[in-house]
């Protein structure tokens, strides 16, 4: 089965003065449907850059990125929104909900982008909010929701586009431990029960045990197995079993 995301020899250089900063150096990575993969590593290591490139938000300097079998690294910037809309749902650290829209309308917005009619979008948004346990909060504004509730609305919004891939950037960073685990259970369910490929960038060691696989990024490259520590026993780092302890 082809991977949902296939990255090959990926490099990314950020222009900086007359030279450039190499942010990604020859990364190879596959993410499969039904898998929850976590990207870990120190700040500035390139995790978010990799997530952004896999999410078709940033373009690679060289290498190949295939989303659902389609090469996207060579696409023009104006063609990328359509790929995001079709294949990718995002969950952000800061939730990024629209504060002037209700929870339901936030979800409807995604459906509107997909071209769903207003009536159908309303119905579907209600269903999605019920799936994340927030059916009764349809008319609540984000300001009236707790952090965990906001993140669940964001997950419902990400799911509204029915994407094969969910990319999450520090989804538990702004949440307390219990709420963070609830959100992670939801993410795991998306991968295992609904067959989504879920990629999560995290610094949160409390949630690592939800991962099917952990990939450590260091200096723009995937760290060798021997460089990785602080990973819960039994987990795989880039496909290799490890028994270590601290992540960042």
């Amino acid at each position: 089965m082809q991977p949902a995301i296939a990255v090959r020899q990926l490099t990314k250089t950020y222009a900086e003065g007359s030279t450039g900063t190499l942010a990604m150096r020859g990364v190879d990575l596959d993410v499969h449907a039904g898998e929850l993969l976590m990207l870990v590593g120190p700040s500035g290591s390139g995790k978010t850059t990799l997530l952004s490139i896999m999410g078709c938000i940033l373009t690679a300097t060289s290498g190949s990125v295939r989303i659902a079998g389609r090469e996207v690294a060579s696409l023009r910037e104006k063609d990328l929104p359509a790929i995001r809309l079709q294949h990718i749902g995002f969950v952000f650290q800061g939730f990024n909900l629209f504060p002037t829209l209700t929870a339901g309308e936030n979800v409807e917005l995604m459906l509107d982008l997909k071209g769903v009619s207003a009536a159908a979008a309303k119905k579907r948004a209600q269903e999605l909010l019920e799936q994340v346990g927030l059916g009764v909060k349809y008319d609540s504004f984000p300001a009236d929701l707790s952090g965990g509730q906001k993140q669940r609305v964001a997950i419902a919004r990400a799911l509204a586009g029915d994407p094969g891939i969910i990319l999450a950037d520090e989804p538990t960073a702004a949440l307390d431990s219990r709420t963070g685990r609830t959100v992670m259970e939801m993410m795991r369910e998306l991968a295992h029960k609904r067959g989504r490929a879920v990629v999560i960038v995290t610094h949160d060691a409390r949630v690592l045990d939800f991962a099917d696989r952990i990939v450590k990024i260091e200096d723009g490259a995937i760290a060798k197995a021997s460089d990785v520590d602080a990973v819960p026993p039994g987990l795989l780092v880039h496909g290799m079993p490890l028994a270590a302890a601290s992540l960042a």
Binding site: I57, R84, F92, N106, L113, R157, D169
Partner: protein, 374 residues
């Protein structure tokens, strides 16, 4: 589409108030200035436009109606002899002095016409009749200038150009662009008031017979009557308007003020919509990250601009209507024809949409990767 534009717009009431104030200010300023321009234009050529004539015959090189140069009234017979001329009458329009009861003097424009004819009669009479002017020294003037000329009622007697004048009626809304009111009287009285010789006139007005070719009649008039110009009423109206509005610079000043209104409105609206856009820039970044094409984001911003335009236009027109109504009692009328009211809607819409382009330019450059930055 969920009501993102409306919610963003109405979310910040203070900013919305500033935006609408800017639009309303702009609309009122433009309406007032353009209304003044139309009012002035109407006033400058009102005498000509209401003359009922097809041609105005003047001495050579007369640039506008107030600058008529006397010529022999014997030319009237030459004009009447031209084929296709149904009617021709002598008319005087000339500045002279009005003496108030308190001894003060005011400049007026005396308009002399043939009471038994239909050319260049006063219009919108609200008191008295044109036929009353057949009585000796009779004059009719506009009620707007009662106070200026010290007139209180019909029957009062004044002095014009050193000759007796008796008020027999009032018109309504016949304004003069200059500050000198029009005073209608018989041609013979006007000769005295304007201190012209008995054989002189300033203009001859011509009505062409039905079916006759205007161009042919004009050619014949120029061929038969020496040392005159023959203008159609529309031509002479345009010449007079052009002189007052552009040669004197009065109209240009008014148009510049109207343009300033547009600029002020544009800047205020652009600034507030830009500030609103910047407030929501992260949301627009999120929209783009979610896969929204630029056009979707533009639609949100344009919708905000359009809603602002509609509300601002309605409020602006309400205020303008009050201003226009209030101006009717004053010396300078602000006119707002329906076409201008409709046109203002599109001007307002264009102004707001144009102002929104500044924000769109900013949104176009948003890097959706911003959503991952904290």
């Amino acid at each position: 589409m969920p009501p993102l534009a409306q919610r963003n717009l109405f979310h910040d009431k203070v900013r919305l108030t500033v935006t609408l104030t800017g639009i309303v200010f702009s609309v009122v300023l433009i309406v007032v200035q353009l209304g003044l321009f139309i009012g002035f234009t109407t006033a400058t050529s009102g005498l000509i436009d209401h003359s009922g004539a097809d041609f105005w015959i003047t001495s050579k090189n007369v640039p506008y109606v107030e600058q008529g140069v006397a010529f022999s009234e014997r030319k009237l017979n030459q004009v009447r002899a031209v084929a296709g001329v149904a009617d021709a009458q002598k008319v005087i329009a000339h500045w002279t002095q009005w003496k108030r009861h308190d001894g003060g003097e005011e400049s007026v424009q005396i308009v002399g016409f043939n009471v038994d004819d239909n050319l260049e009669r006063p219009w919108n009479l609200v008191e008295g009749r044109v036929e009353d002017m057949k009585s000796p020294d009779a004059i009719i003037l506009d009620e707007l200038y009662k106070q200026k000329l010290g007139v209180t009622r019909v029957g009062e007697v004044f002095e014009i150009g050193g000759h007796r004048a008796r008020v027999v009626g009032f018109t309504r809304g016949i304004r003069s662009f200059t500050t000198s009111p029009y005073v209608f009287t018989t041609f013979k009285n006007a000769q005295s008031y304007a201190r012209l010789r008995e054989d002189q006139t300033l203009f001859i007005l011509v009505k062409v017979a039905p079916g006759a070719s205007l161009e042919q009649v004009r050619r014949d008039l120029l061929g038969h009557v020496k040392d005159v110009e023959v203008y159609t009423t529309a031509e002479f109206s345009r010449m007079t308007t052009f002189y007052w509005m552009f040669t004197t610079g009065a109209g240009v000043a008014v148009l510049i003020a109207a343009a300033l209104g547009l600029v002020v409105g544009f800047v205020v609206v652009a600034q507030t919509i830009y500030a609103t856009t910047m407030d929501h820039i992260r949301e627009y970044g999120t929209l783009k990250a979610m896969g929204a094409p630029n056009s979707y984001v533009y639609k949100v911003i344009m919708k905000q601009a359009a809603i602002s335009a509609v509300i601002g236009y309605v409020l602006g027109m309400i205020v303008s209507a009050f201003v226009v109504h209030a101006s009717q009692a004053g010396g300078a009328a602000i006119l707002m024809p329906p076409s201008m009211a409709v046109g203002m809607f599109f001007v307002t819409l264009l102004m707001c949409v144009g102002a929104a382009l500044v924000s769109i330019n900013k949104v176009t450059r948003i890097d959706p990767a911003m959503v991952f930055k904290g």
